[in-house]
């Protein structure tokens, strides 16, 4: 194949996509453009930038060259048309919904989601008049039944936090297509190294970059990726995209920006007006993390499988929920959607219940007891005594945070050391 037509592989894109040598200094690593604002060439250039007639930099709340490298990098890895970097994974979700929903509208969400997202959808969104309707990813018909004329989107996680759940993206994409609404997939736990939701019909991908993409537990960040697949003008249901915008002298964003109009709408209507911009310094740290994503993610998965297998043989352990285990309920879906590995976040149950959970997190010496996932370090949490403490016992069980449940995020340490720490903590 001619060199010009070769398509680079995932590891190459992880290092190079978006990161060209700086045009003025020649700097090869991506510079941290730690500046609020950018000078205009002249008055006419300023007018073109503000009118969205020219590509360029104005003010870091709207865009920044370091953040832009991160945007292009993640968009390229996901196979999307454009990205929008944002202050956190939660901010990504708000800005996506802001572009799609009007007060009184509904969206359907999988009830197997990160607990923080369940809170955001159930409570915070009420103030905007955005109504969530929950569906069960283990029964696709619940998504079909939830569709109403007010439905504007469907939201799922590919691998769902607290882990151990693989969502049937393609089946839910079919429901979304029939309903004429975009499918949003939170791909935080899988990362594009393990799964590319756009290949299965996702129209929008969101990330908490805080986790495996950044990968080193040092920066909060989020990302919105536009797949470029959704026709925003067909049913005229999305006024942010298909109607003339008074903010931009009557411009119609879908008509003007074609298959990356959604990312532009999130930037010039969402990020610009709501304001959750990512710091360029965080963008730099996350970019550096992404350069080693393929190496790290594979090691995360290999370590996690070894730990899950080891735990499932232990007398103290009642059950292990990891789709990479041969007899797991999600094993078939895992082989389809995450063939290289089932991620590094999963839960298991202790026969000793609540007290055994508290004892385990107190006894570990290498694992860190904290509320994050996706770090180089191995992490542990006992949800019943921490994140889910305020719920009743029945609610805890429903949320997958029963008294016996422990969640792990397996890091990149030597496998023997990870297992040894769990062993001493279980038997101490």
């Amino acid at each position: 194949m001619a060199d010009a037509e070769r398509i680079p592989g995932f590891a190459t894109l992880s290092i190079h996509a978006g990161a060209k040598p700086d045009p003025t200094t020649g700097a090869r690593a991506t510079p941290i453009y730690q500046t609020t604002s950018f000078v205009f060439d002249d008055v006419d250039h300023a007018a073109s930038l503000f009118g969205l007639q020219a590509f360029g930099n104005i003010y870091t709340r709207i865009g920044n060259p370091t953040c832009a490298v991160l945007e292009e990098r993640v968009a390229a890895l996901e196979g999307g048309t454009a990205g929008l970097a944002i202050a956190s994974g939660h901010a990504a979700q708000v800005v996506v919904m802001h572009a799609l929903m009007m007060p009184g509208d509904e969206f359907i969400a999988s009830k197997k989601l990160y607990g923080g997202s369940i809170n955001q959808f159930n409570h915070s969104y009420k103030n905007f008049g955005w109504n969530v309707v929950w569906a069960d990813p283990d029964d696709i018909s619940t998504f079909e039944k939830a569709v109403t004329p007010k439905t504007k989107a469907i939201f799922i996680e590919s691998l769902a936090n607290p882990g151990g759940i693989v969502t049937d993206i393609e089946a839910i994409a079919t429901v979304a297509r029939k309903a004429g609404v975009p499918l949003i997939v939170d791909n935080t736990l899988a990362t594009p190294y393990l799964c590319k939701p756009i290949d299965y019909g996702a129209d929008i991908v969101v990330h908490s970059l805080t986790k495996f993409l950044g990968g080193h537990g040092n920066s909060i960040g989020g990302m919105i990726v536009d797949a470029g697949t959704f026709n925003w003008s067909r049913d005229r249901k999305y006024p942010m995209l298909c109607e003339p915008r008074p903010e931009y002298s009557g411009m119609v964003l879908h008509e003007t920006f074609g298959n990356f109009a959604f990312a532009i709408a999130c930037r010039v209507l969402g990020l610009r007006d709501l304001g959750p911009a990512l710091s360029p310094f965080n963008a730099f740290l996350i970019l550096t993390g992404i350069e080693t994503l393929s190496l790290r993610m594979q090691r995360h998965c290999d370590n996690a499988l070894a730990v899950a297998e080891w735990l499932s043989q232990r007398p103290e352990v009642a059950w292990v929920s990891y789709p990479g285990l041969a007899n797991d309920k999600y094993s078939a879906l895992a082989r389809k959607y995450v063939p290289k590995g089932s991620g590094a976040v999963f839960t298991f149950g202790l026969k000793g219940g609540y007290d055994a959970g508290v004892k385990l997190v107190s006894n570990v010496k290498l694992f860190s007891h904290l509320a994050n996932i996706g770090d180089t370090r191995s992490l542990i949490i006992h949800p019943a005594s921490t994140t889910h403490r305020q719920l009743s016992d029945a609610q805890k069980v429903q949320a997958g945070a029963g008294p016996d449940v422990v969640r792990l995020s397996i890091g990149l340490e030597d496998r023997n050391d990870i297992v040894a720490d769990l062993e001493q903590a279980l038997t101490a």
Binding site: E5, R6, I7, K20, G26, A68, T81
Partner: protein, 191 residues
């Protein structure tokens, strides 16, 4: 030429050779895509001549608007068609009869007419369909990367600024293609 996907080298070759572009279906309204493209390409050093019978004789950004291609009193390198796909064939027929004959027919994003393309190619012209020259210029110069768009190019070579301020870049540095966005194809398959 396969009109479903173009090698970057083909598009870069066109944008690096043409100097004078006639824009058929130009709108003088500032919020219309054709106006954006018109202004952007002029700022990148192209001579762009607007064509629209409804506005013939007017001047927009210092350029006179012509009613039709044969009215333009100077040689044209490329005809950019901002019209519905059905209207592309008569525009191509007119372009072919120009002397000298333009080297390139370019149909905007969403505009595709295979009959018109075949006719232009049979007459020795290069054809691009369903693409926007502003987006393609932005992609290959890396300018579009500033707004988070996947330029689908990788390079270890520094881009050259156009000299008029730092926020305008040229097309002289070479790139390799950086991964696919199958998006347009997927969109076409989705009902």
């Amino acid at each position: 030429m396969n009109h479903d996907s173009y090698p970057d080298s083909y598009i870069r070759g066109i944008l690096n050779t043409v100097k004078t572009i006639a824009m058929v279906g130009f709108s003088p309204k500032e919020n219309r895509p054709s106006y954006f493209v018109f202004k952007y390409l002029m700022e990148r050093g192209y001579r762009v001549i607007p064509v629209n019978p409804g506005h013939a004789g007017k001047e927009v950004l210092g350029q006179k608007v012509y009613a039709s291609l044969p009215d333009i009193p100077e040689p044209i390198d490329m005809v950019d068609i901002f019209r519905a796909s059905e209207s592309a064939l008569p525009v191509v027929q007119k372009a072919i009869s120009l002397k000298p004959r333009p080297q390139v027919v370019w149909m905007q994003l969403t505009v595709r007419n295979d009959e018109a393309a075949a006719l232009a190619e049979a007459n020795g012209m290069k054809v691009v369909m369903n693409r926007c020259p502003k987006i393609e210029y932005g992609r290959l110069s890396s300018e579009i990367s500033w707004i988070g768009v996947n330029s689908r190019t990788l390079t270890s070579k520094r881009a050259h600024t156009l000299g008029k301020g730092v926020q305008r870049m040229g097309l002289t540095h070479d790139t390799v293609q950086g991964g696919t966005t199958a998006a347009t194809d997927i969109a076409q398959k989705k009902p």
